[in-house]
Subunit: 642 residues, 3 copies
């Protein structure tokens, strides 16, 4: 079927095809015995149809002969049980045996295909860290963790000091004596847990980088990448991408299953069951675009119902097309679908593709075809440049995610969902957003929103001091040191230099406990988390709770929100901050989102009603029209005002 | 107390007594040292009172000395942990050591008692598969599983091909290399899981059959049986019963605890907390009657509150008597109670019996006494023949249960509950139902209801083609091949031969997502599961969803329901199909059920109101009367119409 | 900072300081190498400021070198997995190696500090049994359990007989053959589970006692104690305290986290989220006071938000002060706070203290300061005597807790919460309560309330017979023998001697199943548990359910409640019993509680409204006033009536 597939792919408007990412047992059916002929043929068939190729290294699925020879490469769960062969990702990312095997294999594969002119990109492994296989609690992980600690702390006394191991007699006599932080009768030391997560994040990076080094050598002209996941924080993607470890950030976008899986309120899951939450993909488009230094691909895009959420509905009519334009508007260079044809057997047989198992285009496939034809027919769309830097940045910080997972303090506190709530509010206000690292150069933004950041260091304070932007900080900002301790000056730590205030006490709130407040004419409550704060110096209290504790504090361009506020309040605070930053906001119709790319503005209607998009009177529509039906997309060029 | 017990049993109307089913440690207190005297005496005492005996082999409780000698016979959980001695069922059904020990013991026991004239039946083991001890994930199970696979597939390449192991590099180099499908980081291959369940189902059958072979030889005149459980699907009971492996299907009926335990809507659990759901016992009466080739016993009937559900209420007044008649009306040859006297110590001390621990009749015991006296006093009741084949069959399929457990796809999809919903609808319409295997000869039925069946093979299509019955198929029918793949022609696979249509996409529905539709004048929704279907050829769309997808399709006598519908819609579809089949239906009063046996119709009032039963005007009541109180039962002979 | 701390402590009104309870790794950094200098200095610094010291033995946190030398001292979970080092309580309480190490260490520590004049008390270990580390399912525990059983039963045949091991062939050939009751495929024998809990309770006691023996020798003048926990029933605290194993009962009081954690109705958790339930601390004050033979301390009192509940709110204003007075009113000799200063690092960094991490007094610290100053300024308060024996006793029984946990029978049955419901009702009626052991001399009480007691022995019946008090027994009383069997005379067993009645059947009630009844003019329902009871002899039925089963039965001064009743009914039954006992009751305002100590009555307002306290017209207020604000406390001396 390959030749026919290739022909139909090209006809559909597909330009790039990813293959081989799980095929180790076919490329090396027995140790050292490589069989390339079938892959040669596949590559030539696709190339002959004018398709470009992305080759995946198959290291997410070590073959059975490898496991039989080295059973110790199987990963170990937090409860000490070793996983079995029989699905995928059954390897310990810290296993030096497995790393050696991967380098050996990738060297052979890259040696054969690295310079093939049709192979324009390589993907390492597949969805690193998926299925909770990272961290692995193996002896191999322990050994490398001890070595990592030794490098970081140099002496065990220094480690004992930084970790505060005097507490509960946790002092270690040597690095060898340190264990993994699992299976402790009660909480392990949070810095022990954090350092283990830091270490594991680096393990993921170094595992990937070992393959990148081979690929750079053999495939010098290809884009090198890895396919990341949505809402996935097991490793620090900013650090992962450092030093040219990737050329483009690719990620796998499953908006409906993601909406079902994340900690959204039940009513939002109900409302958006068939459309996905309007921000759930955009959030990662805007995050991965900066991780890729401006370049991002969607490596796997949902084309219909999938198989892995608690429930898996069929997307509403039009959504597959809409998601394609949404990725495009956020700057995706490429939107690739998983999968070409629904595989009728094995684990993913209920995962739809562009084709049904009987090889006719699926409903989603037909929508992709439509979008591809529309873009090809439109010079305005097909020639569109990259998106510009946004005026607004949200800072996202992986270490903060880890710290607040380790120390949730209240069981409904979820840092990433707090960031998402801020992001949603900015998008409802019609803003484009870049999601960036706190280590990035933030000097070009006019509004910098930090929903929270556990550690505020002098570098960040320096950025604030030098910046002309408005800054908004959320609760728990500056509440920790890098050693996972409370700053001696109390939270928000070093932020006090620009915003004199102190957090005296904090509280987590059960769903029934909702301290009330107003901000301007918006009423609302605190949820999940609140702080009792003292304003120092000339810090102003902009809003306070009904019980008189300050809720919003500011000094000059820096503002602090001392609680997780209900959504309308977050939006009101951000609208005011944007306005003070000189950024125009507009509250979009319910379910509507817009995104600018080049000289076009795209609009997406996730709502249940037809709405009018906020185009200027003389706008030129290059796609769709001003009245936007539910599930539809349009794009326009606003009239030049001069 | 034995002589007094025997006398009181006989007085109560008891005819059969089951003993010895857990008494291994008393019959063989030390290896090879048999002590029969106490059992001889028990048997003679009961026989002297005119009682007939059912002897149980005690293999569900291997004694401690056996475990100490062979600790490897303990079963292993899915997480790899070995169970301990200290309760019951602590054996690995695949242990060849344990199987050898069982045959040795049963040979001795059957040799001694096999030809005793009062011992009219033997029960093997007790509730095979209970307490999740099957499957066992032991080395012994693995070895036998590998051998089973080798027999089934002959070559490992054939297995790799059928299993689709090319996916995720799961190919095995040899049968020895195949593992058990537990502890995989993500889903194991569904066919791997299915073959393991098929294998384990056969393990249960072969374990039983090893004892049957011994018993047939030593007890040639006794009925051989095993006591099955309600709503229990760990093994294929149709296959278990093949080739005379049992003479009668016996099962253990605990209607109230079952109602609390199964996935019924909460409001039904609340409503029927004291009466049990009106169909929960009938369902298994009608299933086990066909499994027993027409012969079934209730080996254990609930006589009062039990000990094992989440909550254990006292049955409403009258229910113990009602359940006795219900079993009788469905054709039970025997209703035996568990237990004679509440045991005041050990694990089941909170399980009621016919007698309180102080040996006075319990409230349930008094109701049993009443029923026994009523039947003895009525020639019409005591001389009643076996029930006739019903006009309506429901096909139940154990492999479908396993496949849809392995691939639930949405977390609320439960095949057996779908079958139960159809069964309930038919019973509300006043119909008698046989629950049958898809392999049975279905030619004599006028209405065949297949709530779902994963695999539709040519044999079943042949039955449809030759049949004059109306056929109703529910969703997911024909959605799989025997290799757990999607048919290449798309679902419903071979059914397309008689009903041209194709399932393009399927979706699982969170509770908030309920596509609406009408069937005739009944309005309702889809729940849990819906398909997007295309009618091909001359297939007619009888009902469609509000969003235009077909909901009910038919061609001639074959009808397909493309979703799990709300209950009223299932009933409307079945009422129409029954009417087309020439079967008269009548919507019974709320909570009322009827069942025909011989020339009598029995009625049971599970509702909260007194109701009038649907007897003909000139009907003769042999039990109770036309106005049926809550918790009461009546039976009548309808006037002959000529 | 030590000298400054000591000075500030003294200024705050602190008199006693507990130190060293987790500092093993600092006192003995390497095996046998003791370093006392730092502790010497700490002690001298505190003593120099006039502070008295409580020294804790650090055995709750064995250092890493000890674990490395003897990894088998780590405890084992019920699933067979061994816990790791890295937090605290990582020791197997049955490890003879660890016990030897503890005695060795405590001997050294007590030898050095036992006679120091400022060290007025010693605490063993810390919160024995916390974090589910008891029971440990280790080989060491098994060996000692077998020996314990041998002592208890002498012969294995006796054990088999008492345990009823004939059931399910569970007979053991020898004590060596008996295992731990974990990992059984279904329920282990309840008496097996119970004996294991009895054994483990004694293990906790003997572990403590080994240290006490050393301490008595070296610190003959100090109070010896252990810090118990709230609502904690892993061991029998009455037995633990026997034979002078403690001089004072100390416990750790965290009212808000406790309110969030226990099985209270959700609406109560919501209502009392910031104040704690009004009875949650009082309950344990009244329990530990009797355990301490009249002497109790609060060793750790919550001074602000803590870190370990599902959510951790800041206490409402005034509560920290209120809790101090509450402990005082219930007779606490000492209220110590955990902790002096919030520790900014390690596991408890989110646990507040009297000082913030930056060493300024926390909001709670300021309230403690206020209370200390008030008491110091008031002769009436500072000179107050111990509380008197109450007129009302509630019997609490640890074995009953274990038995009804082992055999919950319905998943919402919770013995301790039943006791708490009775306690709450008595307190709402304005009564002082002693919570006592059933083995205590009960002859001085006028009302004895036994919410339930599994085993009623002849001794207790003798107490009833000799007593002139009113007795109230709740459901399940007398339902078991010491061998965990149903009494042969049926429940309530020996109670029938004074109250002829029999429990025929029992039922557990799902939340939707609520049999209705009235008691006097109060209407309500049964919840969780109901019995079907027969009144025998001259026993009177005082109330019955709507379905005619007796609900309240009595004969003379003994009354039996045959169900878990809704709260208003419990209060009505108790009000009547109190009145019959000649105890005056008064239904307090919602959220108000009172407690008498010496000649003062204290009132505490946990409610949301200001209320008038029930002081006599001429009462003299020594604290606060008659109109009591929310969160406030007052105390008065009633005018002598003569």
């Amino acid at each position: 079927m390959w030749a026919d597939d290739a022909k139909r792919m090209a006809e559909l408007g597909i330009t790039h095809v990813r293959i081989a990412e799980f095929a180790w047992s076919r490329m090396e059916p027995r140790p050292g015995e490589f069989v390339w002929e079938w892959l040669d043929e596949a590559i030539e068939t696709l190339a002959a149809a004018g398709l470009k190729l992305v080759l995946g290294t198959p290291t997410a699925s070590p073959p059975k002969w490898l496991i039989d020879a080295h059973p110790e490469v199987l990963p170990v769960r937090a409860d000490g049980v070793r996983w079995n062969f029989g699905s995928r990702r059954h390897y310990d990312i810290s296993s030096e045996i497995y790393r050696r095997e991967c380098v050996r294999f990738v060297t052979a594969m890259a040696g054969r295909y690295g310079r093939h002119p049709s192979i324009v990109a390589w993907q390492t492994d597949n969805e690193l860290g998926c299925h909770d296989t990272v961290p692995s609690y193996s002896p191999a992980a322990l050994k490398r963790f001890q070595a990592w600690l030794q490098l970081r702390y140099e002496s065990v006394n220094a480690l004992n000091e930084v970790w505060g191991n005097v507490f509960w007699s946790m002092e270690y006599p040597s690095f060898d004596a340190i264990g993994l932080p699992n299976l402790t009768p009660t909480d392990a030391n949070p810095i022990h847990l954090l350092d283990f997560r830091r270490f594991m994040s680096e393990e993921v990076g170094s595992f990937h980088r070992e393959q990148i080094e081979v690929l750079r050598q053999h495939a010098p002209n290809a884009d090198l990448l890895h396919n990341f996941m949505g809402f996935f924080t097991t490793f620090d993607h900013y650090r992962f991408a450092e030093d040219n470890a990737i050329d483009v950030a690719a990620w796998d976008s499953y908006p409906i299953a993601r909406t079902e899986s994340i900690a959204l309120p039940e009513e939002q899951k109900a409302r958006y069951a068939r459309t996905a939450h309007p921000d759930v993909s955009a959030f990662d488009h805007d995050r991965y675009r900066t991780i890729g230094g401006g370049r991002f691909w969607v490596m796997e895009q949902q084309a219909g119902p999938v198989n892995w959420a608690s429930w898996n509905p069929v997307p509403a009519k039009g959504m597959v097309r809409l998601w394609a334009y949404e990725a495009f508007a956020h700057g995706a260079e490429l939107v690739s679908y998983f999968r070409w044809r629904q595989c009728p057997f094995a684990q993913e047989q209920m995962h739809s593709g562009l084709n049904l198992p009987n090889n006719e285009l699926s409903p989603g496939g037909l929508e992709v075809q439509q979008a591809a034809r529309e873009i090809a027919a439109s010079a305005a769309l097909s020639g569109l440049g990259a998106p510009k830097r946004a005026a607004t940045a949200i800072v996202f910080d992986y270490e903060t995610q880890w710290m607040f997972e380790i120390q949730r303090h209240g069981k409904t506190f979820d840092y990433q969902m707090l960031v998402f709530d801020y992001y949603e509010a900015l998008r409802e206000l019609g803003l484009d957003v870049d999601i960036v690292s706190s280590k990035a150069d933030l000097s070009q933004y006019r509004l910098v929103v930090v929903p929270s950041i556990a550690v505020i260091d002098e570098t960040l304070v320096g950025q604030i001091e030098k910046s002309s932007a408005q800054w908004v900080f959320g609760p728990r900002s500056g509440s920790k040191t890098t050693a996972f301790a409370i700053p001696s000056s109390l939270p928000p730590g070093a932020l006090q230099k620009v915003l004199p205030m102190q957090v005296l006490e904090v509280e987590t709130l059960r769903p029934t406990l909702t301290p009330a407040l107003s901000f301007g004419d918006i009423e609302g409550v605190a949820m999940h988390w609140r702080e009792h704060v003292r304003a120092n110096g000339d810090t102003r209290v902009d809003a306070q709770f009904d019980d008189a504790w300050p809720a919003v504090l500011s000094r000059g361009k820096v503002l602090y929100v001392a609680a997780w506020l209900s959504h309308g309040l977050h939006r009101a605070v951000l609208a005011q901050a944007a306005n003070e930053a000189g950024i125009e906001t507009q509250l979009l119709a319910d379910g509507l989102r817009i995104r600018r790319r080049g000289d076009l503005t795209f609009a997406f209607n996730f709502g249940e009603q037809q709405v009018e998009v906020p185009a200027s009177v003389n706008a030129t529509f290059v796609l769709g029209q001003r009245e936007l039906a539910t599930g539809d997309v349009c794009a326009w060029r606003d009239a030049q005002t001069d």
